[in-house]
């Protein structure tokens, strides 16, 4: 057990896991997921919000099993390696709002950091602007860290606090099994299903769930985090997490080339728009929100699987943020930003700066 633990904590361990995620993300696209969206935590949580009717954007409604797998796989890993630590109480309302704002920003760009990498690996040049925005947002976050920003300490708590989000995911899985997609029906029991658009494109349930569980398990072991990769580089000049992220990018690129899924260019890219400034600005918002919350959206799912109730609140904030984005016309589409997307970016940035500037009490 200790040899396995040491391997995953090593540089080779995180590079191996980055390669695994890159290869299987590209394969998920081959197996049915939308273009350059083998894995996208933001898009997949947005689709889940649609599947349970929190928003009614008919092209993005599907209960993505990958997300359930991420949380449950991380939980299995945390339990197996005795790392399940129920904890909560570090400014939960702030974490909820950070989750919402992160999702709002990500949906202006159309993707989380994972998908930004996968879009680049598929040849989508617009992803360069998104990644530049992500780096910019995280850089802003590091300035706040240097000036004493923190959300305060969490506390050990009841085991049931740590169990709640994994149990919710099990509940969603039960719904998915009880109400499977029906041919040409947009409603199965209480679940909504897209008949066209990205929500109608998905790999088989067992494949999506299996890859999700494996990624959740491996990412929990290695602490894989796309935001942390950039933050640690800027703040500490550390390359550990970044090596995993670069491995993901390289592995996805090579797999895409082999599968004939690499199509370089800026226009006509799958589930993407070409409004470069808003691609950049949307990810500044998302990057800053992830930095202030201490993890990228994937990492928040894995921490929630380890029993972190505050990360679970961030996840729920993201799902609600997706509903708000689509209900209020904030989310982009391949045609460009939504009717209120630009307003949303400006307001979100203002709220993030408010949080960053005002929560700077020195830790006693």
């Amino acid at each position: 057990m200790s040899a396995i633990r040491d391997f995953f904590a090593s540089r080779l361990g995180i590079i191996s896991v980055g390669c695994f995620i890159g290869v299987f993300a590209a394969l998920l696209q081959k197996w049915g997921n939308p273009g350059n969206m083998g894995i996208c935590v933001a898009c997949m949580e947005r689709d889940i919000a649609g599947a349970i009717g929190l928003h009614r954007a008919v092209v993005v409604q599907y209960l993505r099993p990958e997300i359930l797998g991420f949380v449950l796989g991380a939980m299995v890993s945390a339990l197996a390696f005795r790392e399940f630590r129920p904890r909560a109480g570090s400014a939960p309302i702030v974490r909820f709002v950070l989750g919402m704002l992160a999702m709002i920003g990500a949906l202006v760009f159309l993707g989380c950091p994972w998908r930004a990498l996968l879009r680049l690996a598929g040849g989508d040049g617009n992803a360069i602007l998104g990644l530049a925005g992500l780096v910019g947002g995280i850089w802003l976050g590091t300035l706040f860290f240097k000036n004493g920003y923190n959300l305060g300490r969490n506390q050990h708590t009841y085991a049931s606090v740590g169990w709640l989000l994994p149990l919710m995911m099990l509940g969603l899985l039960t719904l998915r099994l009880m109400f499977p997609p029906l041919p040409d029906k947009d409603l199965s029991g209480i679940l909504f299903y897209s008949l066209k658009g990205p929500g109608s494109q998905y790999a088989p349930l067992a494949v999506s769930l299996g890859v999700g569980l494996a990624v959740g398990f491996l990412a929990q072991r290695t602490r894989f985090c796309t935001m942390g990769a950039i933050r640690d580089l800027i703040l500490f000049r550390q390359l550990h997490l970044l090596s995993g992220v670069l491995a993901l990018l390289a592995a996805a690129f090579i797999t895409n080339v082999i599968l004939n899924q690499f199509n370089p260019g800026f226009t006509g890219q799958p589930v993407a728009h070409t409004m470069w400034f808003w691609n950049f600005a949307g990810m500044v918002v998302a990057g800053l929100a992830f930095a202030l919350a201490g993890g990228c959206p994937g990492r928040q799912l894995f921490m929630a699987g380890e029993g972190d109730g505050d990360a679970a609140v961030f996840v729920l904030g993201m799902i609600v943020g997706a509903a708000v984005s689509h209900n209020f016309g904030l989310a982009s589409s391949p045609a460009g930003v939504g009717p209120y997307g630009i307003h949303a970016v400006i307001i979100s940035l203002a709220v993030l700066l408010f949080i960053g500037f005002t929560m700077r009490q020195k830790i006693s």
Binding site: A9, F81, E83, R85, R87, S90, F145, N150, L151, R153, N154, Q155, H156, R223, C225, G228, R231, D232, L235, F236, Q238, H240, A293, G294, G295, E306, D310, I363
Partner: protein
């Protein structure tokens, strides 16, 4: 007498940030860091190593860890 840093309950990157700040101010000697997650344990040890500090002892205390960092 070693210095003590309590980083329990803090989110990333606070435990590493505080440890590095403390290690830079000490430049050598011994620092005890308390953390409460395995992620923080690994991150603090890795960051300390980058400044030439070694984890002399890693003790589990209930659900927490007591890390003794040393530099001669």
């Amino acid at each position: 007498m070693s210095e003590l840093l309590d980083a329990r309950g803090l989110s990333c990157p606070q435990p590493v940030l505080l440890t590095l700040e403390k290690l830079r101010s000490l430049s050598q000697g011994e620092l005890v860091v308390l953390v409460d997650t395995d992620t923080s344990r690994e991150n603090v040890i890795r960051a300390a190593a980058s400044l030439g500090w070694q984890a002399k002892e890693v003790q589990a205390e209930g659900t927490d860890y007591r890390l003794t960092l040393k530099k001669a």
